[in-house]
């Protein structure tokens, strides 16, 4: 089980969290001019790295905050975690 470093509560077991996918996904800057290919890339294409992965976690059964973290997908070790820009609390 992962020990996840919530920036608000400290390290807590994985069962308190929900994985919320890759972080830093940028919405097309000019939505009305973006074509199907660009929208498809925004919605579905991911880098899926072997190594450090920037991702979002939701401390669902804790403080309720979303935050960003970096985790090595080969070892599952967390490198950093931060309060997400624009993160929401309950």
């Amino acid at each position: 089980m992962l020990l996840i470093p919530c920036p608000y509560c400290g390290s807590r077991p994985e069962i308190e969290f929900r994985y919320a996918g890759a972080a830093h996904i940028e919405r097309p800057a000019d939505p009305s001019s973006a074509g199907d290919r660009e929208w498809s890339a925004f919605l579905y294409e991911r880098s899926n790295p072997r190594g450090v992965h920037a991702e979002r976690w939701h401390h669902a059964h804790g403080c309720g905050h979303f935050f960003n973290a970096q985790r090595d997908t080969m070892t599952d070790r967390f490198v950093t975690s931060d309060a997400a820009a624009g993160g929401t609390s309950p």
Binding site: M1, R18, L43, E45, N48, E55, M74
Partner: protein, 416 residues
Amino acid sequence: MRFGLAGLLKNAIRQNRDWPEQWPSPQPKARYDVVIVGGGGHGLATAYYLAVEHRLRNIAVVERGWLGGGNTGRNTTIIRSNYLLEESAALYDHALTFWKDLSQALNYNVMYSPRGVLTLAHSANDIRVLKRHIYANRLAGIDNEWLEPHEAKAFCPLLDIGRDSRHPVEGAALQRIGGTARHDAVAWGYARAAAALGVDIVQNCEVMGIRRDHSGAVCGVETTRGAIGAPKIGIAVAGHSTRLLAMAGLRAPIESFPLQALVSEPLKPVLPCVVISNTIQAYASQSDKGELVIGGQADAYLSYSQRGALHVTGHTLEALCELFPAFRRLRMMRNWAGTVDIAPDRSPIIDKTDVPGLYVNCGWGTGGFKATPGSGHVFAWTIAKDEPHRLNAPFGFDRFRTGRLIDEATAAGVTH
């Protein structure tokens, strides 16, 4: 060499000392017509159907490790085709038509056992979901029927259908032709049959790069055993698909997750069929050796660690022990995790890519084994003819641009 009664008797008398190797281990040639990257079930089946149906003989399958050492050797061997959406049902049922005669076609016993797949309902919503599956399957000519709880109990006697259970059994869908096959034998059988047709199976050969010519089309692969030229390259590497596609500068709607499974100590025959519960996320069957082969849902986060968390298997075992109280004292022998590649709609991608000559078969997620023969068959067609087969045409990259997703996760009401 074909297996037959005379050969079995002769080798039995000689104490099985003289069996020849099942397939040669050649040095890779400088050039092939097609290189298949990935020596799992799907890759080997693709090479076999390229050879047997499309008359291509100058083919190599390159495998990073050894045959049966990847996800093919880690899966839970279940075969069924009772998917809801017509595109998926057609694709998986295509595979089932091959399973029936696969041992004969390959002259290799893949131990296909149509023992029945029982999918349990635990709530009013489950009943609606499963009956909808059954009606959809009936319309598509696919075997699936509804059983009341006492009928499910008669089919699988150890199943607890008591009303005071935490997850009471409200009925079940039964696909009688579903069942299991020996996963290693599927890889070995395809390898042996493909090698007999002249396909080179090159193990311990990791692909490090994809070569492209001045026009941008593929012209070969860089491997740990040297460069291999080929105008057509088919990728069938499950969890590592995005890495291979990245070598050609492509991104894909695919992410990789751990999927765990475990086996119990061996028992006398107790579980006559495959039992699946989507609602409480557990499935089990009994191997011919007697072990219960048990699996559940994938872990929640992207990872290549091949570990996964203990609470996920714990959840699976809790659920299984609710259904089969008799299993509570069983010891688990070992557990393991594979890396599965999952598309956003939980359906596979079998398609040409934007790079000419590069084809990909990926995104099978948690349930690719059952599709092995059908997947290999349509992927071989796609590579040979440079266009999708009728059955895999809906399973292309294009669906993420047009919005025609094949959303089996939502259709099944489970995380799949």
